[in-house]
């Protein structure tokens, strides 16, 4: 494992926040089954109240807001990692049934189940005579 793999990567593409925090790219695992796409994202410091999942057309955005990570009354004397928000965007190729998306958060890990939609049927447009 190289250094790069272990460190959190800052998301520089994201618009700056008003709060003075860095935004990191959460590490994800994605796997596909016949009926669904599963996405597992590591976002330590978030819980179900501070995580957001958005699907607009075929662009999926996951974001999480993290408290400053300070320990009350203590001073930081040695630091190897930084604390900040998370954001990452994916373009999905498959049509997703957005009504059936399931999301859970456990110990800072977001787990998304994105069920594939049944084949979108071509719509026939009826033309009325003017």
């Amino acid at each position: 494992m190289s250094d790069k793999d272990l460190q959190k990567t800052e998301n520089i593409a994201v618009t700056e926040k008003i709060r003075n925090v860095k935004t990191f790219i959460p590490r994800v695992d994605i796997y596909e089954t016949r009926d669904a796409l599963f996405l597992i994202a590591e976002m330590p410091g978030v819980d179900e109240k501070t995580v957001d999942v958005e699907l607009e057309k075929n662009v999926l955005t996951i974001s999480g807001r993290v408290e400053d990570g300070k320990v009350k009354d203590y001073n930081l004397v040695f630091s190897e990692y930084e604390v900040g928000d998370y954001e990452r965007t994916f373009t999905l190729s498959d049509e997703i049934d957005r009504e059936k998306i399931k999301a859970t958060v456990k110990q800072g890990v977001l787990r998304l189940e994105l069920p594939k939609a049944e084949k979108v049927k071509p719509k026939k447009i009826k033309i009325n005579a003017a």
């Binding site: 494992m1 190289s2 250094d3 793999d5 272990l6 460190q7 590490r27 994800v28 695992d29 994605i30 796997y31 596909e32 089954t33 016949r34 599963f38 597992i40 590591e42 976002m43 330590p44 410091g45 978030v46 819980d47 990570g69 320990v71 009354d73 203590y74 001073n75 930081l76 004397v77 040695f78 630091s79 190897e80 990692y81 456990k106 110990q107 800072g108 890990v109």
Partner: protein, 146 residues
């Protein structure tokens, strides 16, 4: 490289966050030169107050029972194991960026800790260990006789 001895930095506790930021920037500038700056996993932050220390680390998605914390002498050991989702045949991982498996990290503490009162909390994927200094290890004040 350019890593200051961590306990020496205590003397300038107020300026530490600034120094650490600067150090990180410098390390990034030189990160491709010479030896690697590889850090151990998981990365830790160390906090101090009077006679106790707090070690925090981000290890998301674990079960509390799979995390082992122990103290031997002045060495704190954090270890654990995590498993990826089992997938069925014919299914494939499209992306695998998470670091799963076994890990172990040893941390040298600056003093003896009272192992009976060590507290550990695991919340939102962040492990927080509070380590109070052992009473017998506190510096003794010596009276000067006239």
């Amino acid at each position: 490289m350019f890593g200051p001895g961590i306990w020496r930095m205590k003397r300038f506790a107020d300026s530490v966050p600034g120094i650490i930021d600067l150090q990180r920037e410098i390390n990034r500038l030189f990160s491709n030169v010479g030896q690697s700056t590889a850090l151990d996993y998981p990365a830790i932050n160390v906090w101090e107050k009077d006679n106790s220390l707090v070690v925090t680390t981000e290890i998301p998605g674990m079960d509390a029972e799979n995390i082992n914390i122990s103290v031997t002498g002045t060495t704190l050991t954090i270890s654990g194991t995590s498993q990826p989702d089992p997938i069925k045949e014919g299914e494939t991982y499209l992306r695998q960026e998470r670091e799963l498996g076994n890990f172990q990290r040893n941390v040298q503490l600056p003093f003896q800790v009272d192992s009976k009162v060590i507290e550990a909390k695991y919340e939102k994927g962040i492990l927080k260990i509070t380590l109070p200094r052992q009473k017998e290890d506190l510096p003794k004040k010596i009276k000067i006789n006239l």
